[in-house]
């Protein structure tokens, strides 16, 4: 049985309540730190050694990121990224509604470690009805239990955490766009450098971490050194929630050791539905390259293994497609998304995503030529690496990988003006 970090409370009757959380050893890590006046550097060291990698998409080492915060005194901020909008990803929403205190505790520890007195948890607007309410309720409880606020457990430490809500914009998940959004502006990513750790929210040093990343912190701090690292399988370190969706029998979130074979994960998710054959998998949210089903069955769910298959682990949103899937339609849908969500500032992204989408629409409506397929490839190539944020890449990578892996299907569509599979 795998240990559980973020998902521990999920099966309890009142998963979000502070009582449930406390009964499972919640906030012990936080109290420990305060009572022992643990030096900040020690926390950062421990997180660094644990090998914890950011769960938001880029997989950057969390401890290393924290260590970029300047040591000088002054206002600093922590931002928890609960904007979860990458298609295929639905893990943070469950942590928010079933285990909000793990996020709060993780945020408190992170604030302490980087010397921030204020933390913001930015939830996407669509979480307004449920997650927003649950998380705010949890915050109130934590204040009531005096685990947060002024002079926490007589430690002289003051940390406030606020929940913020977005209003519908995928791009705000990008960390610097999120800072702009918190400042009350359009969510347009900033250029880097300067990095947020040096100049972030309101110009102050800021760390942005994903919800799952922060929710993993308490357990890491509570256990002995090396514990988290060793949870991984096959040379990988640590755990990850994978969101299984698409043509499978038991869609859901699975918190499993990194390095678990994809085949095992698929089995846990009930296998392919309707007894069909697996055709393709997008292993890390819709922005990463698609992988052919047979290749996927050979690899493990970890950063290196997935990279070796030409894709990325990304946010852990695993979209499984069976052999009835029309790849042209899927790519068309993905392009529509990035086209609609481009913030509009960079020329290649603003103009290029629309161009891609329009060509794909033409293919679907039978108005395209083979030339257009080359054109798609070329445009994607022109966008890639030429934008401020990774949305441009996110729009380009699917196009290039779909074409590469399923060229004949596209060719067929252009030629016959209908899908190869239907």
């Amino acid at each position: 049985m795998n240990p559980k970090l973020c998902t521990e409370t999920y099966n309890h009757s009142h998963p979000a309540s502070i009582e449930t959380y406390l009964s499972l050893g919640g906030y012990d890590a936080w109290k420990n730190i305060l009572q022992n006046k643990m030096p900040r550097s020690k926390i950062i060291e421990k997180i660094k050694d644990s090998g914890l990698r950011g769960k938001g998409g880029a997989g950057f080492l969390t401890g290393l990121k924290w260590s970029f915060i300047p040591l000088i005194e002054g206002q600093k901020y922590l931002v928890c990224n609960s904007d979860e909008s990458e298609p295929g990803t639905c893990k943070d929403r469950d942590i928010l509604r079933y285990n909000p205190h793990s996020i709060i505790e993780g945020m408190l520890i992170a604030c302490y470690a980087i010397g921030a007195s204020v933390g913001y948890n930015y939830l996407r607007g669509e979480f307004m009805d449920q997650q927003w309410k649950v998380f705010n309720e949890a915050l109130k409880e934590a204040y009531k239990f005096k685990l947060i606020g002024n002079n926490i457990i007589s430690s002289n430490i003051n940390i406030d955490i606020y929940a913020l809500i977005g209003a519908g914009a995928y791009i705000v998940g990008e960390e610097t766009a999120m800072l702009e959004s918190i400042e009350g502006k359009r969510g347009m990513p900033r250029i880097k450098p300067p990095f947020p750790a040096i100049k972030g929210l309101y110009g102050k040093p800021t760390i942005i971490n994903n919800t799952e990343t922060l929710a993993s912190i308490p357990k890491i701090m509570l256990n002995e050194d090396g514990w988290y690292k060793n949870l991984g399988l096959n040379k990988s370190e640590g755990m990850k929630i994978f969101c299984m969706s698409g043509h499978i029998n038991k869609p859901g979130n699975f918190e499993i050791p990194l390095g678990t074979p994809f085949a095992d994960l698929l089995k846990s998710a009930g296998g392919i539905s309707n007894n069909r054959k697996i055709k393709a998998v997008i292993p890390g949210g819709s922005s990463v390259p698609v992988v052919k089903g047979e290749d996927m069955m050979r690899i493990n769910m970890d950063y290196e293994s997935i990279a070796s298959a030409g894709s990325m682990l990304g946010s852990g949103g695993v979209i499984v497609m069976d052999d009835s899937t029309c790849m042209v339609s899927v790519l068309h849908r993905i392009s529509r998304f990035y086209y609609a969500e481009s913030c509009g500032q960079c020329t290649p992204c603003r103009e290029g995503t629309g161009w891609l989408y329009k060509i794909l629409s033409n293919i679907l409506s039978g108005k395209a030529s083979l030339n257009d397929l080359e054109q798609l490839n070329r445009i994607a190539f022109q966008i890639e690496g030429h934008c401020i944020c990774a949305l441009g890449d996110a729009a380009a990578m699917p196009v290039r990988s779909f074409l590469k892996n399923f060229w004949s299907e596209f060719e067929y569509y252009v030629d016959k003006k209908e899908s190869m599979v239907s």
Binding site: Y339, A340, W355
Partner: protein
């Protein structure tokens, strides 16, 4: 730090970006979103360059140089990357260059010639954006917009009047306003320059000419005392538009709308085109030479018959330094002491203690070095738009601004402290109540006294109080004046009590107010509109009516001039003559004729020069004239002025129960802008409200009236607009005279009855 660009070694400063260094050393990198005075957004992706060891080409505008970095601005990788950006930019850009005003100076056109492809592979529908009328000064064609966001950043970062914004996102992103027609910033025209394509265009200039046919002439702004540097563009001897000429000390790369569109006033229909002499009560045209002979004759006779003390010589400080110099030289040489330029003033007790000339006391671009700046009697945003850019920067550098004004305050930079006062409570405010301001004498403090102060009936008391207030904060004191060349007017002795460079006059003449209120026999007005350029136009009117002879040197025939002039000598405007102005930080700036005047119009200085010839041996050409002036003033140092008004005291009694003041409306400040058509269509020009304080409004009865007792004017109470933030008993006229209604003093304490 050593870096390599195209294999040549350069030294870069830390934090310098690739584009900064390349601009400095003259290596061209195409760009659309980058502008050296705006923040870097790196969004257009036009400046992508190849950097050794970096996979993708990087934006030169946002990439800082690193030690030993190797950049290639013309390699294949660079070229392909730039070409690709260009392709993206063009897919949704209309190909309507032949009908686009930007054609010929379009950065997109230039760059695409150099970097773009000769055909388009884009086969989809293009984006179309519906246009709105955003202002009388700027025309839009938003389908051409390439989203560089320069215009938006200008509003956000430079003018601090954010009226244009980025709406929607992605491909639907567009530049737009909240309310149509309401781009009101006094600096809005700069967005025309900033726009690299034909999306924001100069409305008055629209479709007037193609840029490559234009001729460029350097000029100096005649509309305020900052002296912004301008290029005027002409076609067929006509000015068609103006653009900024870069001057880091003054206007950087910006221009106020007043400076940009003010030239339109020189094409007004009421220009004085012909010399005229009155005969049987009517003005008839005559020849220039006849006129000059006659003029000389009249002056000599007037002196003989009525004495020099019965002649009043008044000149506008909008005149050039050459005109101002010759004007006083001519009349002083005839023994006349009644010479003045301060026609907007009423209280002159301060005059002996006034410095040699008004000045800011510092260079304009030093303003952000001050920690605390007190603005007294000036609304920078509308009166000195270019200065508001400097102050906006200063505030960003943590300068605190304290504004004390008689009018509503509406600055476009954050003001730390503001107070609206009348001419009495400003005295108590500065002597006692201001203690709440925690400003230390060891900080760098500056007090700027604005033009409204000079119009007050008790200006001497105000100056003296400011002076005393300053003892506690030890500030530098500077002035901003109401015209572009008050500095020269003072310095070159157009005063009843001083000669050149502040030398005391042997005989003290009458000041401007005395001249018109004491009804002299002969008036000589140079470049002045009796209707607008005097403290009280009613008194001028009665003076002109009762005098024996009125000699008017003017560019425009106003109704009063037509009615009362005995002689009209048409003179050129700034655009049609050589001249110089000394700006408020003491910079002497000369300019040459931009267009030829109509046949019978001469430059003011040459007419004065010709008159001088009758009586003296001094004759000049422009060069000797200028060098004589420069030589006379070469030792003046604006930094060394000590202001000492401590003992001056106004002689006027402030008896009325109500303080009235007319606002110095941005687009009514001088005879030329008053006639600039496009500026007259702006929101600012449309304001002809009369604002009153709450306590006056509270006394209104239904269908009541307000009587101005000393002026015999009556207003219906519904003609007023209440402004709650005005101090008690205050009435503000948004413009003087132009709505034909209020013609009384520009600022006075009067009795009103409701």
């Amino acid at each position: 730090m050593k870096v390599f660009i195209n294999n040549r070694e350069y030294t870069a400063e830390s934090n310098e970006t690739i584009i900064e260094l390349c601009d400095k050393v003259g290596i061209h990198i195409p760009r659309f979103c980058y502008h050296k005075h705006l923040s870097v957004v790196a969004s257009c992706r036009m400046c992508l360059v190849d950097i050794e060891g970096v996979n993708h080409a990087q934006p030169a505008c946002s990439t800082p140089l690193r030690e030993n970095m190797k950049v290639f601005t013309h390699s294949n990788k660079t070229k392909i990357a730039q070409k690709n950006s260009m392709e993206f930019l063009l897919i949704n850009h209309p190909l309507d260059c032949p009908i686009c005003d930007q054609g010929g100076e379009c950065e997109l056109q230039d760059v695409s010639l150099e970097h773009g492809d000769d055909h388009s592979t884009y086969m989809q529908l293009k984006r179309v954006v519906i246009d709105k009328d955003i202002s009388p000064l700027i025309s839009t064609d938003m389908t051409r917009c390439i989203h560089c966001s320069r215009c938006v950043r200008f509003g956000e970062e430079i003018s601090n009047v954010k009226e244009l914004g980025l709406l929607n996102r992605g491909e639907d992103m567009k530049i737009d306003v909240v309310i149509e027609g309401e781009v009101t910033s006094e600096l809005s025209g700069n967005m025309i320059d900033l726009c690299p394509v034909g999306a924001l265009n100069n409305k008055p200039y629209r479709y007037k000419a193609r840029t490559w046919d234009l001729k460029q002439h350097a000029g100096i702004s005649p509309h305020d005392c900052l002296g912004s540097n301008i290029y005027y563009h002409t076609y067929n001897n006509k000015i068609l538009r103006a653009v900024p000429m870069e001057n880091e000390q003054i206007n950087q790369t910006w221009l106020s709308d007043r400076d940009r569109f003010g030239y339109e006033g020189i094409y007004s229909k009421d220009r004085a085109f012909k010399p005229m002499i009155s005969q049987d009560g009517k003005l008839i045209e005559c020849e220039n030479q006849i006129l000059l002979d006659r003029l000389n004759h009249i002056i000599i006779n007037a002196i003989k018959n009525h004495g020099t003390e019965n002649i009043g010589c008044l000149i506008s400080p909008q005149s050039t330094s050459e005109e101002l110099y010759l004007f006083q030289k001519l009349f002083k040489s005839l023994g006349i002491a009644n010479i003045d330029h301060r026609t907007n003033e009423r209280d002159f007790s301060y005059q002996d203690d006034y410095p040699i000339m008004p000045s800011l006391g510092i260079n304009i671009n030093e303003i952000n070095e001050f920690q605390n700046i007190f603005l007294i009697g000036v609304n920078i945003k509308s009166e000195f738009p270019i200065l508001s850019i400097h102050l906006n920067n200063a505030v960003k550098d943590k300068t605190k601004i304290f504004s004390i004004n008689f009018d509503m305050l509406d600055e476009d930079f954050p003001v730390f402290y503001k107070k609206i006062v009348n001419n009495k409570n400003i005295l108590s405010l500065l002597s006692n109540d201001i203690e709440e301001i925690n400003v230390q004498p060891n900080e760098k403090n500056l007090i700027i006294i604005g033009p409204t102060v000079s119009q007050l009936p008790n200006q001497s008391d105000v100056l003296s109080t400011i002076n005393k207030f300053n003892e506690s904060i030890n500030a530098r004191i500077g002035f901003l004046t109401d015209f572009c060349n008050n500095t020269s007017a003072w310095l070159l002795g157009n005063l009843p009590h001083r000669d050149i460079c502040g030398k005391k006059s042997k005989i003290i003449g009458k000041n401007a107010y005395e001249m018109i209120s004491e009804k002299l026999s002969t008036y000589i007005l140079f470049n002045l509109e009796p209707e607008h350029d005097f403290w009280d136009s009613n008194i001028v009117e009665s003076a002109l009516k009762n005098s024996k002879c009125n000699i008017i040197f003017t560019s425009y025939i106003t109704p009063m001039i037509e009615k009362y002039a005995d002689m009209v000598i048409p003179i050129s405007t700034f655009a049609e003559c050589d001249g110089s102005y000394i700006n408020i930080d003491g910079t002497f700036q000369s300019f040459s004729k931009i267009v030829e005047p109509k046949k019978d119009i001469s430059s003011g200085w040459s007419i004065l020069n010709n008159l001088l010839k009758y009586n003296s041996s001094d004759i000049y050409d422009i060069k000797t004239l200028r060098s004589e002036i420069k030589d006379l003033i070469k030792d003046i140092d604006i930094r060394n002025f000590k202001i000492n008004f401590k003992n001056v005291k106004s002689k006027n009694q402030l008896e009325g129960n109500t303080f009235i003041v007319t606002r110095r409306n941005t687009y009514k400040t001088d005879s030329i802008v008053r006639r600039a058509e496009s500026l007259n269509m702006t929101m600012q020009s449309k304001d002809n409200n009369i604002y009153i304080s709450n306590n006056i409004a509270n006394q209104f009865k239904d269908n009541g009236y307000i009587d101005f007792e000393n002026n015999n004017i009556r207003y219906k109470t519904n003609e007023f607009t209440v402004k709650t933030n005005l101090p008690d008993n205050t009435i503000i006229f948004s413009t003087n005279n132009l709505n034909g209604k209020y013609t009384g003093p520009k600022s006075q304490n009067i009795n009103i009855k409701i």
